[in-house]
């Protein structure tokens, strides 16, 4: 019989986590596929009952997405255009069934290089909030994710929220896979552009599944910043974009194709957002 804890208070949860050796669970959509057993081995700490862990709230300092917020919650939330990429990503996670159970916190802690939530969050300058009985720390998402299935989550710590500064602009997300639903990305791209008077004032771009962790593209962002929207397409360039990537060859695609498709997708995404802004 699995020892099972589903506390309502964060303090209780942190106390349980402190003792160590517990499996933290949320939607279990990553945990169950990893085992053939009919039950997850415990002890288990289920974070989905903790007050304040689920839902999206706004304050003067920005946005807070509780770690146990599901993809369905995100795609149905009333969010400004900067979040369009995150919402589009939510819609692309697996299937309706997976979106109804899987959480944003699980996606980040599972730290797959193909985690669909990460690129859009990177373009939103996301930080993670980590809590333990020792206190709370915040760090940038790209610091938190250190490699495939590796994060800076310390023993005894929970991811409690994803924090986003007040952000402007319009976001977008494109995913490439070998079929329509239930597909692990070959490559995916996210962008958030702030467009003013026909020019790109600020560009935040990120690519997933083309490096050990999804990456922002500083060089490409710089090349795009200040560009008139009509020139955006020509500013997206393989020689600028690809040095920030380190794709691998696997059963889904080869490395060259991955880098190439990331470039094509990014160009399309940026052009699409620009056209929408102009319209």
């Amino acid at each position: 019989m699995t020892d099972f804890f589903r506390p309502h208070q964060l303090s209780d949860a942190l106390e349980i986590a402190r003792t160590g050796g517990v499996t933290i669970t949320a939607g279990c959509t990553d945990l169950f596929p990893a085992t053939q057993a009919q039950a997850l081995r415990g002890p288990v700490l289920d974070v989905t009952g903790i007050a304040g862990m689920r839902g999206i709230t706004q304050s003067a300092t920005g946005w807070r997405i509780g770690a146990a917020t599901t993809w369905t919650d995100i795609l149905r939330a009333d969010l400004p255009g900067a979040f369009d990429g995150l919402r589009a990503a939510a819609r692309e996670v697996g299937s309706v069934q997976i979106q109804n159970a899987g959480t944003i916190g699980g996606n980040l802690c599972n730290a797959s290089p193909a985690a669909d939530g990460v690129p859009a969050l990177l373009t939103l300058d996301a930080e993670v909030e980590l809590c333990s009985t020792a206190g709370t720390r915040r760090m940038a998402l790209d610091t938190f994710l250190t490699g495939p299935r590796q994060t800076l989550l310390a023993p005894g710590e929970l991811l409690t929220a994803v924090l986003l500064p007040p952000v402007a602009g319009t976001g977008g997300f494109l995913k490439l896979g070998a079929r329509r639903y239930l597909v692990i990305s070959i490559a995916m791209v996210a962008a958030r552009l702030e467009i003013e008077a026909g020019h790109i004032r600020h560009a935040a771009l990120a690519v997933g599944a083309c490096s050990a962790v999804a990456r922002r593209l500083p060089a490409q962002e710089a090349a795009l910043t200040g560009a008139p929207v009509a020139r955006a397409a020509s500013r997206i360039d393989a020689s600028v974009l690809q040095p920030d990537l380190s794709p691998i060859t696997d059963i889904r695609a080869d490395a060259t194709y991955r880098a190439h498709s990331a470039t094509v997708l990014m160009r399309r995404l940026v052009v699409g957002i620009c056209q929408e802004a102009e319209a």
Partner: protein
């Protein structure tokens, strides 16, 4: 804060229930095992297939990914709760549209759709696709499922079954459909006697390894389980070799000293459900010594022998030669050539192998998934050292088969366990076990040359194919023989040489998969036909029509053909062909990264065994009380033989189909109707049913002295026979009781007449052929190499359409599998043993499909009918490849055409 709730209060289908369960158990397991709600199916335990979908507070989730404790305080709805009073509108729509074939995904589909309709009562097609995208179906191609969901609220009333003499040709609902839409269907994993023991297999983690067991007795005793190995099987007097073709039988049910493929079973562990649920098999006492695996068929000849008895790793060769291929090619105005490589393709039925065995008196009863009950009976008897009559096979509803469930899998394992423990034993393969250990489509490397004269007539063809048959024979010989017979396509090919070789490797066993190698070979021939049409500057459809076989022509085997429908199929594509080419040209004129193209391909396919006997026997009886019983031994794996065979029989007898009661299949109750494969059930079992119906009719007419066109009425205990001269009556209770409890009975067999093939493959391998042609319209993303199939128009000559709805279902489902083979399916041993790395099409990947049913009667088939099941996927992949080329210039010769391969081919074509 909660800790260790063991009593869990659930609300399931509106009723409160209490279960005592580990809180972190999968909800699917608790529903099925503890609550007996077995309508929710488990296909993968990983969220990939969606068959286990239930609603939690109205939202669809995979019950296999939901810890039961997460359902506490929420309402859970399962398929069993959908229809407290009769069927819901949605379930009715599924029945009416033929949305359920095998039925294994149906509960998941229904729950996902119920969730959608509760929120969005009038969804759009794309909303339906989004909602169903998380449930995989391998049978239907999704078309009828999506139509059913869209029709809810405005689908008409159920139609009454047709009257006497009007069953054949009628679009009737499948006769066995109700249980598929209400969750009552009993699949292999759904039945077990109370307290049945659970069997699990120990399998090789290596492609090739010898092994030795350690202290089995100690390991068993410490865990309160029993372990059985090949030794126990030998002690029963069994011969540890099975195989679908007895002269080639070479596969052990449990490996003896050497495992020859990854996933091969070497031992079974048997214990109570409780013990087996918790057991850790990772410390099973076995020592492996790995051997260098032979993986590449190109270098397998001469490498280490996979099986000592076949030292050169050649299982068998096939060959058909007619005329002089070299001379024909030499005299050609144009010759085209190509080499094509195809991948292992996994059947990916949503039901992993499952079943239960028990002993009844001195009979071993096995109720498991199968396509071939009598072959299972034979194999199990040999393996377990039992006389055949002491093995009874009751086919469970098969949750998809497509060829792989022709070979035994777990039957001997659960049989062995039941015999040796004396208790009922059950087993369910995990998805990984199923994908590792059961058969695949043969990967093939094929090269061919085809020549034409200046007028466009084929002058000759040379074909060579190397098929990776894996570790054991299975259906390798059939593939090696079928391919040379069919590699010409349905075209007149005067000078012909086709040679094949099936080569052993330590890869997965390649066996039967819808088409037995012909889908692979069709790619080669149809790609070359596009090359040749281009060289001739001829329209591709006109070129095919010019060379299409006609009635009276001889095939490459020298067989004179009758009822040839290929030109009728090609002709039926003409209007769409013109329109599609015009549409594509107009679209492409606008420029941009997307390019559209159109492609064609044909098929022909012989129904039944290749030049070997394959009879079916059907019994039809009437009891003294007036029950009309059809003993129908063909396993209906979703393709519809329960319905089609009954339709044929009903019209042959002249009674309404509604009066038929179906018995079987069950080896104790039904005569042998052979295997459900080779597209033979409509033709062979259908003809046996027709003959039985006619024979029974003759008896009735003779008893009443009425003419051949008399009308029959079965009315309780009497039959009234009316013709122009008057009426006669039979009082059934007055007739003497005959065999099997019937007062009137007919039992007829039919074996299609064939002639053996000589050493050049000349003869008459099949009695009946079916024909078809597909027109694919695709859109290629020139920058990404992504292909979207927009529309497939599929013309198939069925000879006589017995049931249009079921025929369309076969076409749509076959196209889905053909599309998968063309664009995404590639089984890589050791790497894609799950349904998220091995991709099959989802509800969002299917094109619009327009089936066109053609009837060119076959003189031999029942009422003119031909087979269809396998034909449907043969032209799909080549039609798609030809359309990709038309759109983009890319000549893709390695399947599947994954985006990176298509892009590479586009770049190559551009250089």
């Amino acid at each position: 804060m909660t800790a260790q709730p063991t009593h869990l209060n659930l609300q399931v289908n509106g009723k409160p229930v209490v279960v005592q369960a580990d809180p972190m158990r999968r909800l699917s397991d608790v529903l099925r095992e503890d609550l007996g709600l077995r309508g929710s199916k488990v296909g993968c335990d990983a969220g990939d297939c969606g068959a286990c979908t239930v609603l939690v507070d109205g939202a669809p989730v995979c019950s296999c990914l939901t810890p039961v404790v997460r359902a506490v305080g929420h309402s859970v709805e399962t398929i069993e709760g959908l229809s407290p009073n009769g069927l819901s509108d949605l379930q009715n729509a599924f029945l009416r549209h033929g949305a359920a074939q095998c039925g294994i995904c149906t509960p998941g589909m229904l729950m996902a759709a119920t969730g959608l309709l509760a929120e969005t009562p009038a969804p759009t097609r794309s909303q339906v696709e989004d909602a169903l995208g998380g449930v995989l179906c391998r049978c239907t191609g999704y078309a009828k499922i999506i139509d059913a969901v869209l029709s809810v609220g405005h689908s008409g009333a159920a139609q009454a079954l047709p009257a006497s003499g009007q069953a054949v040709g009628a679009r009737i609902e499948r006769l066995d459909g109700l249980a598929k839409v209400n969750g009552a269907e009993v699949f292999g994993a759904d039945h077990w006697p109370e307290g049945a023991l659970v069997v699990r297999a120990i399998r090789s983690p290596h492609f090739a390894a010898s092994f030795e067991f350690g202290d089995l007795a100690g390991w068993e005793a410490a865990r309160a389980v029993q372990v059985f190995t090949a030794r126990d099987l030998a002690a029963l007097g069994g011969v540890n070799r099975f195989g679908v073709i007895p002269p080639f039988a070479d596969q052990p049910a449990l490996a003896e000293t050497e495992a020859r493929l990854r996933g091969e079973a070497v031992a079974i562990v048997v214990g109570t459900h409780k013990v087996m649920d918790a057991i850790d098999l990772s410390d099973f006492p076995i020592t492996w010594t790995t051997l260098t695996p032979v993986m590449d068929p190109a270098t397998a000849i001469g490498a280490r022998a996979v099986q000592a008895e076949r030292a050169d790793n050649v299982l068998t060769r096939g060959r058909v030669v007619q005329g002089d291929a070299a001379a024909g090619l030499g005299a050609a105005a144009h010759v085209a050539e190509v080499t094509v490589e195809t991948a292992y393709v996994e059947h990916a039925y949503i039901e992993p192998e499952a079943g239960c065995a028990w002993v009844e008196g001195d009979t071993l009863v096995i109720q498991a998934c199968t396509q071939a009950p009598v072959m299972d009976q034979d194999d199990v008897a040999i393996l377990l050292g039992l006389p055949r009559e002491r093995v009874r096979i009751i086919p469970a509803a098969a949750g998809g088969g497509f060829g792989s469930k022709l070979d035994v899998s777990l039957q001997p394992l659960i049989g062995l366990a039941a015999l040796l423990t004396g208790q009922p034993c059950r087993m369910v393969y995990s998805r990984a076990e199923s994908m590792q250990s059961t058969t695949k489509r043969h990967p093939a490397t094929m090269s061919a040359q085809i020549g034409v004269d200046a007028a466009g007539r084929i002058t000759g063809m040379a074909f060579e194919g190397q098929f990776n048959t894996g570790a054991y024979a299975s259906w390798g010989p059939t593939v090696a023989n079928r391919v040379p017979v069919h590699a010409s396509g349905p075209y007149l090919t005067p000078n012909y040489r086709a040679e094949t070789v099936a080569i052993h490797t330590n890869g997965p066993v390649s066996g039967a998969f819808r088409g037995f190698g012909v889908p692979q070979a069709a790619v080669v021939q149809e790609v070359l036909y596009d090359d040749l049409a281009a060289a001739l500057a001829m329209d591709r459809l006109a070129f095919r029509r010019l060379n299409a076989l006609s009635d009276g022509d001889r095939s490459v085997c020298g067989q004179q053909l009758h009822g040839v429908g290929i030109d009728a199929c090609l002709a039926a594509l003409e209007p769409r062909w013109a329109q599609a080419n015009a549409d594509a040209a107009a679209f492409n004129a606008a420029g941009g990264a997307l390019r559209r193209g159109v492609g064609l391909a044909s098929c022909w396919y012989g129904c039944g065994n290749t030049a070997l006997p394959n009879p079916s026997t059907v019994r039809l009886g009437i009891t003294a009380q007036g029950r009309l019983c059809l003993h129908q031994g063909a396993t209906d794996i979703g393709q519809g033989s329960n319905t089609v065979v009954t339709q044929i029989c009903a019209d042959a007898l002249g009674l309404p189909i509604a009066q038929f009661e179906l018995i079987g299949p069950d080896t104790a109750l039904t005569p042998d109707c052979g295997k459900t494969s080779a597209s033979r059930q409509t033709v062979v079992t259908g003809k046996a049913a027709m003959l039985s119906g006619q024979a029974l009719r003759q008896q009735i007419l003779a008893l009443t002295n009425r003419g051949a066109d008399a009308d029959l009425t079965l009315d309780g205990g009497r039959i009234i026979v009316t013709d122009a001269a008057g009426a006669g009556e039979i009082s059934l209770a007055d007739l003497p009781l005959g065999a099997h409890g019937y007062v009137l009975m007919a039992e007829e067999s039919y074996d299609p007449p064939t002639l053996p093939l000589d050493e050049d493959g000349q003869g008459a391998p099949y009695a009946v052929y079916g024909y078809g042609a597909h027109l694919a319209e695709v859109e290629v993303d020139m920058a990404l190499g992504v292909v979207k199939v927009l529309h497939i128009t599929a013309a198939h000559d069925l000879g006589r359409v017995i049931n249009p709805q079921l025929a369309e279902g076969q076409i749509e489902g076959g196209i889905a599998q053909g599309l998968g083979m063309a664009l995404m399916e590639e089984f890589i041993p050791g790497r894609t043993e799950n349904l998220h790395d091995y991709l099959i099409p989802t509800a969002g990947d299917m094109p619009k499909i327009t089936p066109i049913l053609i009837e060119v009667p076959d003189p031999e088939g029942p009422m003119g009918a031909k087979g269809l099941g396998e034909h449907v996927l043969i032209p799909t992949a080549p039609a798609i490849l030809n359309a990709i080329r038309d759109a983009s210039g890319a000549r893709v010769t390695r399947l599947p055409a994954l985006p990176h391969r298509v892009l590479a081919a586009i770049q190559e074509a551009g250089q």
